[in-house]
């Protein structure tokens, strides 16, 4: 295995994610010409991942600016703050620029606490795209619910449960998916249950579900409602892999393999939650695990590209 084994896996995944991001943007914004995603777009994760990968795909910035102008008010500043620390430094750094766009072009003062005014050089190269958000597509379900119910936990919980194809989800799963604080999620979920928006089930632990047929008339979800995939977990793993690959460039294959196992231990959810069965860490000894890791990442990349959008 070459010494850049982790870098190769990181590159494979980044490429797949750039394709997936294009599909997601196509699902919620009219400008991109690609095939739109059908699965539910996690908007804060989409913004953070686009900010991270903008270095590799500079056209993302124009979309981000356009979105800042037309969709900023439908993004959750609190959730963005919760998610951002788990993304690569570039995403966190550029979030300040994006926040400035949201505050200035989007006229949304909530973003001022995160904003940083761009330099003149940056401002000069800006070319405007008129905002053209799409809220009626399947992938825009979460945004649509936020527009209807307000930006906050309840809309996100409802989107997650509706994206679970009628399945029940525990509080832990809901918290993990939505990225809000557990107590706040618990209160929101209980209120949704009290209001009859979701069904509380007396399982142990307690679980909740949203009945698609109950919402179909309103949201027109159809026979194949959009699925919630765990994009945030996937983006976090990809970012961590990218960082590890940079750090490990000159390490021995054995140490790279050890680092790869660390990544798998810390980000198992990126695979499991997105229905990719990663092989056990003990499936190959020492540096031979790099091959297993590369194959598992390649499978995840393929899934992101083909089945998760």
């Amino acid at each position: 295995m070459p010494s850049s084994a982790l870098a190769s896996s990181a590159r494979t995944l980044r490429r797949a994610l750039i394709e997936a991001l294009w599909a997601q943007w196509s699902g919620i914004e009219a400008w991109p010409a690609g095939k739109p995603a059908r699965s539910i777009v996690d908007p804060e994760a989409l913004v953070l991942a686009s900010l991270w990968l903008e270095g590799e795909e500079p056209r993302f910035w124009r979309l981000l600016r356009s979105w800042a102008a037309g969709g900023a008010r439908y993004l959750s500043v609190q959730r963005m703050k919760n998610l951002a620390p788990h993304y690569p430094g570039r995403a966190r750094d550029r979030l300040a620029d994006f926040s400035w766009e949201c505050a200035e072009r989007g006229g949304d003062a909530r973003w001022r606490s995160l904003a940083r005014a761009p330099t003149r050089a940056v401002r000069k190269r800006m070319r405007e795209l008129e905002p053209s958000p799409r809220f009626q597509t399947p992938s825009a379900l979460l945004l649509r619910l936020r527009i209807g119910l307000g930006v906050g936990i309840k809309a996100d919980v409802l989107a997650f449960l509706l994206g679970s194809a009628g399945g029940s989800r525990t509080m832990r799963e809901i918290t993990q998916a939505t990225g809000y604080f557990r107590r706040a999620v618990a209160r929101g979920v209980e209120e949704l249950a009290t209001a009859g928006f979701v069904l509380a089930r007396t399982t142990a632990p307690a679980s909740y579900r949203a009945l698609p047929q109950q919402w179909d008339a309103l949201l027109n979800l159809g026979s194949s409602p959009p699925i919630w995939w765990y994009w945030d977990a996937l983006f976090r793993f990809a970012g961590a892999l990218d960082q590890a690959a940079t750090e490990a460039a000159d390490r021995t294959p054995f140490l790279q393999a050890s680092l790869a196992r660390d990544l798998m231990e810390g980000h198992a959810g990126a695979f499991e939650l997105n229905a990719v069965r990663a092989r056990p860490l003990t499936s190959a000894s020492g540096e031979r695990y790099l091959q297993v890791f590369a194959e598992d990442v390649a499978e995840l990349a393929e899934r992101a590209r083909r089945q998760m959008v």
């Binding site: 021995t252 054995f254 393999a257 050890s258 196992r261 003990t282 000894s285 020492g286």
Partner: protein
């Protein structure tokens, strides 16, 4: 999960322990005895179930340790690296242990530290104790019990 370490694996496993320590900017010095030590010294070539750490070298900035202490347990840095190696190489959870020190109550014979030959493997100083008379003892088919590389020959407090 491996039950034993083959002779060829003992040195490479300890070398990797050193790699891991160095990678994390850590350093440690261990004196090993028992089957692992005898393999390292080339006295025997047989599988061993674990690596017995009888002493820790007192680290110095400019060279190998010159004195040793008897630990009651592995220091956290070695415990962590050992655990990681257990995961990475499929070794048993106690593959590196200080059982032989009886919880730190073991008393080493006088001059023990001087008989340790240290070699460096990344962040690990590795020192099996040597015994000049061992070759003759083995050649005669004599017992190894009194060799410092074996577990016998040490005093224990009550």
């Amino acid at each position: 999960m491996k039950d034993t370490l083959q002779p060829a694996e003992i040195r490479s496993t300890l070398s990797r322990l050193g790699e891991l320590l160095a990678q994390h900017g850590e350093q440690a010095a261990i004196v090993v005895v028992g089957g692992a030590a005898l393999n390292l010294l080339g006295v025997v070539s047989r599988a061993t179930v674990d690596v017995d750490v009888i002493a820790l070298g007192v680290e110095r900035a400019d060279g190998p340790p010159q004195s040793v202490t008897v630990p009651d347990a592995l220091p956290p840095v070695l415990e962590d690296a050992g655990r990681r190696l257990s995961r990475d190489l499929g070794l048993g959870p106690g593959w590196l242990n200080t059982t032989v020190t009886s919880g730190g109550r073991l008393i080493l014979p006088p001059g023990f530290a001087a008989r340790v030959t240290w070699t460096r493997h990344g962040g690990l100083w590795l020192g099996p104790p040597r015994a000049p008379s061992l070759g003759a003892r083995v050649a005669r088919g004599g017992p190894l019990g009194t060799h410092p590389g074996c577990r016998g020959g040490f005093l224990q407090t009550a």
